[in-house]
């Protein structure tokens, strides 16, 4: 018996749709701008250990709260640390927090959503009611409460943000899985006797992924703001390790003497979050067949 997916591969049914999506994406200038913004921050963060910048923790008591200059492009902080270096290293923490927490949300949320949407019945009822309960607690309040009970650290902040972001992925995947489970090709897969795990892996999972990709991009943006918020409140990255939120928290105390301490972390958060939002909007438009 011929495997239906092999038939689909042979006929190359997927490819025109995929190239159309990419074509639309590459014509979407704001999405490309977003992708470029994200790429700049990712490259800077990745290259942090090899860039010719001072140690982010090195203090210089002779250069405390210096405004931007040739020696310190973005100025120095309250104990003479180079702000540019802390910005780049802090970017690693922020980007990692965004990506890791969304990965946690996807790893928990997508399988639960598929189970709920594919099996329906009591599995769906239990998963959906729990999702609704978690959705009733605002994202940041849930993350603050979890971070408070787990203890303040960057790892716990990522876990807290990840758990807080999970219900959105469960709900989205469930809706997609319900629609896909009703498609003819899934019925055919059943009819030719494929086992449920194979159907879930080969037909349901790949087809729920496009909207999840869009949601993931937008959620990375919210997660970066959430990490910055938690670190700003003192519940995320702990000093002396740099993070944009923690830098803003310190900067708040020196707002009149050294306002540049507050400028850069805020601008960086704004730009990277804007980048992810533009990218997510662009991906959504590219994947939406109604936008043709």
């Amino acid at each position: 018996m011929t495997d239906p997916s092999a038939v689909a591969d042979e006929l190359d049914l997927e490819k025109p749709a995929r190239s159309r999506v990419w074509g639309k994406f590459f014509r979407h200038y704001s999405a490309l701008f977003g992708a470029a913004l994200v790429a700049i921050f990712v490259i800077l963060a990745a290259l942090a250990p090899v860039l010719p910048i001072p140690d982010p923790a090195a203090t210089d008591w002779g250069a405390v709260r210096q405004p931007p200059s040739a020696a310190h492009w973005l100025g120095t902080d309250e104990i003479g640390r180079d702000i540019l270096s802390r910005m780049i290293w802090g970017g690693r923490a922020s980007l990692m927090a965004g990506v890791v927490s969304v990965a946690i949300a996807i790893v928990i949320g997508v399988p639960l959503g598929i189970l709920a949407g594919y099996f329906r019945g009591w599995t769906d009822a239990v998963i959906s009611r729990c999702t609704e309960a978690l959705l009733a607690i605002p994202f940041l309040i849930l993350a603050i409460a979890l971070a408070a009970f787990l203890g303040p650290s960057l790892t716990n902040a990522m876990i807290a943000i990840g758990i807080a972001a999970t219900p959105v992925f469960i709900r989205l995947t469930r809706g997609q899985a319900i629609n896909i489970a009703a498609e003819d090709y899934v019925e055919s897969a059943h009819a030719i006797g494929l086992s449920t795990p194979i159907i879930l892996r080969r037909y349901i999972l790949p087809n729920v992924l496009p909207p999840i990709l869009v949601q993931a991009t937008l959620t990375v943006a919210s997660a970066i703001i959430a990490e910055a918020s938690l670190s700003f409140l003192g519940l995320g990255q702990q000093p002396p390790a740099p993070s944009w939120g923690a830098m803003l928290n310190t900067a708040k105390g020196f707002i009149t003497q050294a306002p540049w301490m507050a400028w850069w972390p805020g601008i960086a958060i704004f730009l990277v979050v804007l980048g992810f939002n533009l990218l997510g909007d662009g991906l959504r438009d590219a994947l939406d067949p109604r936008e043709d």
């Binding site: 704001s30 009611r129 729990c130 609704e132 309960a133 978690l134 009733a136 607690i137 605002p138 994202f139 940041l140 309040i141 849930l142 603050i144 409460a145 979890l146 971070a147 408070a148 009970f149 787990l150 203890g151 943006a221 703001i225 910055a228 918020s229 700003f232 409140l233 003192g234 519940l235 803003l248 900067a251 708040k252 707002i255 009149t256 306002p259 507050a262 972390p265 805020g266 958060i269 704004f270 979050v273 804007l274 939002n277 533009l278 909007d281």
Partner: protein
Amino acid sequence: MLRFLGHRLIVSLPTVFLITIFVFVLQKLLPGDPVLAMAGDDRDPETLARLRDLYHLNEPIWKQYWLWLVDAAQGDLGRSIRTGIPVSDMIAQKLPVTIQLAIMSMIFAAVIGIPAGIISAVKKGTATDYVANVVALSGLSIPNFWLGIMLILLVSVKWQLLPASGYVPFFDDPIQSLRTMVMPAFVLGTALAASLMRHTRSAMLGVLRQDYVRTARAKGLSEREVILRHGFRNALTPVVTLLALLFGELIAGAVLTEQIFTIPGFGKMIVDAVFNRDYAVVQAVVLVTALGFILMNLLADTAYFLLNPRLRAG
């Protein structure tokens, strides 16, 4: 109408039940002995025994939950470990402050976001639409605590126009109260205005494509009348629902805004509680916020029902 409300209430019950379980379990996440964490530096065996007794920690876990639930249902959310004040009294005292902030932000968001959304939808694809979208997306991407710090720097420190912090109850001195709240409301309202603009735009675009809008134009109504009477009135329903969903964002935003502007509200309470390790307060804030969210959804459903004649007739 009553049947509709009754049905919605019954449907929300399992959610409320699960929220109470979740909030109860939060306390169990504390590493180590919860009593040691609650007592802080006070390691006196008598205090520990009293706390263990107070929180029924010697009972089996299901009984602990049940006793906590019965107390919570009667409005007894425990006492603050730091001040000894009942948590429900603290909430009653802090909530009006946050409600004033929330109302002012909502007004700001609605005044900016809804007209911007309508204009952007009507002028779809033009430079106006593009600019409105960029501004809205920037509003969503700007961290509100940073916006707050920058405004304090500019408006309070440099121009000395408005106070940088503090709170004056509205009925004590309305003018001073508004002066202290204008900046926080602007900060909190920015992201809401952006959300509202994007949703109004998308709802309006959906409505403007409908046949009845074409009919309204065809029968010679002015463009203004077509957009406002036939377009916006129908786009309003999803926008009203969104207002309820924004409640969550509003409370979460209030946490940071109140922290920046040192406003003694509900949002600042949770942060203070976290740092004081006042876990009963943290639990209560989560519970009250979640119940508030469910209530707002119920109100939104009711508004949806009242605004939509087809549902009302059915």
